[in-house]
Amino acid sequence: MKTTFVLFAALALATSAWAVDIGKPAPDFSATDINGKTIKLADYKGKIVVLESYNSDCPFCHNHYASGAMQELQRDLAAKNVVWLLVDSVSTRNFSYRTPEQARKEVADLKIAATAWIDDHPGELGHLYGMKTTPHAFVIAADGTLVYEGAMDDRPQPFGDPRTAKNYVRAAVDELLAGKPVTVSQTKPYGCGVHYAN
């Protein structure tokens, strides 16, 4: 039994990517947003939180925003008191990196309606949650439990209208608000690889 544990520990270490478990408390974090504000998961206790790994240069992300579908979802959920955090883990060495000014401009240009944009250029938050792609979505229930992890929707395409797809984040939040269990709790995320610093 003990040896089995050692084995899994080794595997867990080797595949650092699968870092979080559905049904378990989502790991707390403390991060800084593009306005220099400290963002802690614990601060949003009692609210549903959506994390979205973000890089608008990635055609998959770009399509969600260029079509306006993502902002629409963000506004819909904000009206339901849901917190939406963009997690930008792009390394400063990558040309998709945004300085805080560029990021603030992008929020205005794209009319992004998220609660905050976390500047995670060291990749700590991304690695903590095992964010693999942009976009890669996480839904955390009001009690802090991770209830969904995976793709934004069932349409892994960098073009076309995302509104025609089944949006897993919207479905998970609606089910949470209706007090129902989340039907689809895990999917394979699609998109571009996160351009981490290491």
């Binding site: 595997l11 040309f95 792609t133 895990q186 394979k188 571009c192």
Partner: protein, 727 residues
């Protein structure tokens, strides 16, 4: 009008010529320029990427998107499935993808209807892909080509290109007779094994790399990380981690097995049912094998014959390993005293010795089977991990030494024996049997060349194979004596029995005493400084042995008092030293895995071994040297340890920034037993060198031969470290 024509020509050129997206150029190629109705023509979508850019395989991996081909074909032409050449595994490790760099030709067979009218066919495909370097760009192009259908077949100029890309397609045969099985799930993750039972063919060489690229599936993800447990061609074994996203655990796995040898990679399409249990009888398992309870033995791999040969040779070599040498002295003495006996009696004693060896090996085999049945891993020499066993053996070997010194006699009838000749005559049979048992017990902390492989093989098999291999090792160990017993003429060079034998017997007590010292040192690793109590116990036992010999066996009066005194001495000695002083059944558990070995190491900064330590060092891109050793392992301490604690090895480790990990098997912790079993050896010594490149499997160093000098083994270690430092 002329302008219009020019525009049309320009448009045609654009349509027919290569279409360039940002960084990838797409073309449609055909294997034939002309063909006949009913034929199959190969179409190839050629993607040429700029340096650093890549497009994706059918399973893009953690990110990315597979290239898509949408055909617009004239009636009578049907496109088959895309055939994907073997992709590359692309970094980074935490977002691993499968794709192509520089160039790829995706091959699609086009089937022409038999009633297709003659003429030129325009074949059009819309190709869309995702190209990535430091960022990703979606690309798409409409490509087309013309095929003449008529009465003759003519290869196109690209026929050779097709041949070279066809050679890169995975082959559709399960060349390695792989099987797939699960380990126990933990939450939504579960290790998946892919392994082939040892086939024992002559193709048993080690691949430079082994990989598995899974097909894509929405219900589960297969980790990019591959743990290679065996890269030998005859018994491939690798392990992947599977994460379940929805539904039940998959019952089937499909993908491409990739093997690499001399920079040449080959792929094999596999599609396997996944069983819930490891296959029985194969040496492929990393898990304990349940012993088959009275059932039919599992089909044996063909290599059993070779392993039996190895077992026999290993058994013979054991005779010259330092462990068994003291017993050999006893045997020589036996032969000397028997030399003039009648041949029948000599043969009988030779056979009784062999019986002692074989029965002891049978007992060892039973022990191994029992340990395995209890769900644990068994290892050669594992009984030395028990401090109680070590204490008993130390006491026994000391008694043998004292017996050789003549302090007391071992008799069956309770009568003292006076001459050496009588000694041999009276307790010849029991002595021969005891020698056989002692030879076996003392042999276990040594592994010999060939023996490691045979035992490692045996430990993964069912009960009958374990018994067979163990008995064969025993036969090998006993064989020189059986041979000598049958040909006493070969013993002519030995001097005649006489008074010298008594002196020789005493002289032979000293190697035994040396063995006691070695065992004492083994006990020290379990009891620490308290081992002094064992020393005191040994003195009490020696004193009791002398009283027994002098006043009971050779005494003339009050023998009963002498015997009572001996018993009281032993009982009180046991109670005060072993029980009270040493608390011998509750040894001190050393918390520092490197233990005493680290303190005695001159230069190497040994860190305790653990799978996590290996993983952490590899993740940091450092080569790793692992020494699996034990204080009771003679080969480890006589050859491997001085070979590693050598200035050139030390310097090399520093230059390579390598991590040195010490796995202390002295008390046979299950984690180490399990790890050792993965490399197909039965026990220590085992030296592994993990290359700097974390995707490469560890190099398993050969076990040193008994006559090898440490300096020679140092060179083996240095070679391995040099290989490991290559990226």
């Amino acid at each position: 009008m002329r302008h219009l024509a020019a525009i049309i020509v320009l448009l045609l050129t654009l349509a027919v010529g290569p279409v360039r997206a940002a960084h990838t150029e797409a073309k449609l190629l055909l294997s034939a320029a002309a063909t006949v109705p009913g034929d199959v023509v190969l179409a190839g979508v050629q993607l040429k990427m700029e340096p650093g850019w890549h497009t994706y395989w059918k399973n893009p991996g953690d990110s990315g998107q597979a290239t898509e081909i949408k055909w617009q074909l004239p009636p009578g032409v049907t496109a088959g499935e895309v055939q994907w050449p073997l992709p590359e595994k692309l970094p980074p490790a935490d977002v691993t993808t499968y794709g192509y760099e520089d160039e790829v030709v995706l091959i699609v067979p086009l089937k022409l209807a038999a009633n297709l009218p003659a003429g030129a066919l325009n074949l059009v495909a819309k190709v869309s892909w995702l190209e990535c370097k430091e960022s990703c760009v979606p690309g798409s192009a409409t490509v087309q080509a013309t095929l003449l259908v008529g009465t003759e077949t003519k290869a196109s100029a690209n026929a050779a290109l097709f041949e070279s890309w066809k050679a890169k397609l995975p082959q559709d045969i399960n060349h390695f007779s792989l099987q797939a099985w699960w380990e126990t799930a933990k939450g939504d993750q579960r290790p998946l094994n892919l392994g082939s039972p040892a086939s024992g063919t002559d193709k048993n060489f080690k691949y430079d790399a082994v990989e598995f690229f899974p097909n894509t599936n929405d219900d589960y993800e297969v980790s990019a990380n591959t743990e290679v447990l065996s890269a030998f061609s005859a018994e491939l074994h690798l392990r992947k981690n599977v994460k379940k996203l929805s539904g039940d655990w998959p019952k089937e796995i499909s993908g491409v097995l990739v093997v690499e040898q001399n920079k040449t990679r080959s792929g094999y399409e596999i599609k396997l049912p996944i069983s819930d249990k490891a296959p029985a009888g194969g040496s492929v398992s990393a898990q304990p094998q349940p012993v088959q309870a009275g059932g039919t033995p599992a089909p044996l791999p063909q290599s059993l014959g070779r392993m039996l040969l190895f077992a026999f040779i290993g058994g013979i070599i054991l005779n010259i390993m330092p462990c068994v040498l003291p017993v050999i002295a006893l045997k020589i003495l036996g032969f000397v005293s028997e030399a003039k006996s009648e041949p029948r009696r000599v043969r009988k004693l030779g056979l009784i010795y062999a019986l002692g060896v074989l029965l002891s090996f049978l007992a060892l085999a039973a022990g191994v089977i029992g340990v395995k049945a209890a769900g644990h891993h068994a290892g050669w020499g594992m009984q030395f991990g028990s401090p109680i066993f070590v204490v008993c053996l130390t006491t026994l070997v000391m008694l043998v030494a004292l017996n050789l010194f003549g302090l007391f006699e071992v008799t069956l009838g309770g009568r003292a024996l006076d001459t050496a000749g009588e000694l041999a005559a009276k307790h010849g049979a029991a002595g021969a049997f005891f020698n056989g048992v002692l030879a076996t017990i003392l042999a276990t902390p040594c592994t010999a060349p060939f023996l490691g492989a045979a035992l490692g093989f045996a430990f993964a098999q069912n009960a009958s194979v374990i018994v067979l291999i163990f008995l064969t090792v025993g036969l090998g160990l006993a064989s020189p004596y059986i041979l000598l017993s049958w040909n006493p003429a070969w013993l002519k060079f030995l001097p005649k029995p006489g008074a010298w034998m008594e002196k020789f017997k005493i002289a032979m007590g000293f190697p035994m005493l040396a063995t006691v010292m070695w065992l004492f040192n083994v006990a020290a690793s379990s009891y620490g400084r308290n081992v002094l109590w064992l020393g005191i116990f040994l003195v009490v036992v020696a004193f009791a042995a002398w009283i027994f010999g002098e006043f009971f066996q050779r005494g003339r009066q009050r023998k009963g008092v002498a015997l009572a005194f001996v018993l009281i001495l032993l009982a009180s000695g046991y109670a005060f030293t072993l029980e009270k002083g040493l608390d011998w059944r509750a040894p001190i558990i050393e918390t520092n895995a490197a233990g005493a070995l680290k303190a005695s190491g001159a230069g190497i900064d040994w860190q305790p071994w653990s799978p996590e330590a290996v993983a952490a060092a590899r993740a940091a891109g450092r080569p790793v040297l692992v020494d699996f050793t034990a204080s009771w392992c003679v080969t480890c301490n006589a050859i491997v340890k001085p070979a590693l604690e050598n200035n050139s090895v030390l310097a090399k480790l520093k230059v390579l920034n390598a991590v040195a990990l010490l796995a202390d098997y002295t008390r046979t912790p299950p984690a180490i037993t399990e790890e050792i079993a993965k490399y197909g050896v039965a026990g220590v010594p085992l030296v592994l060198v993990y290359p700097k490149n974390p995707d490469l499997p560890p190099l398993v160093l050969p076990q040193p031969s008994p006559l090898q000098l440490p300096s020679g083994y140092s060179r083996t270690v240095l070679d391995a470290l040099n290989r490991a430092s290559q990226p």
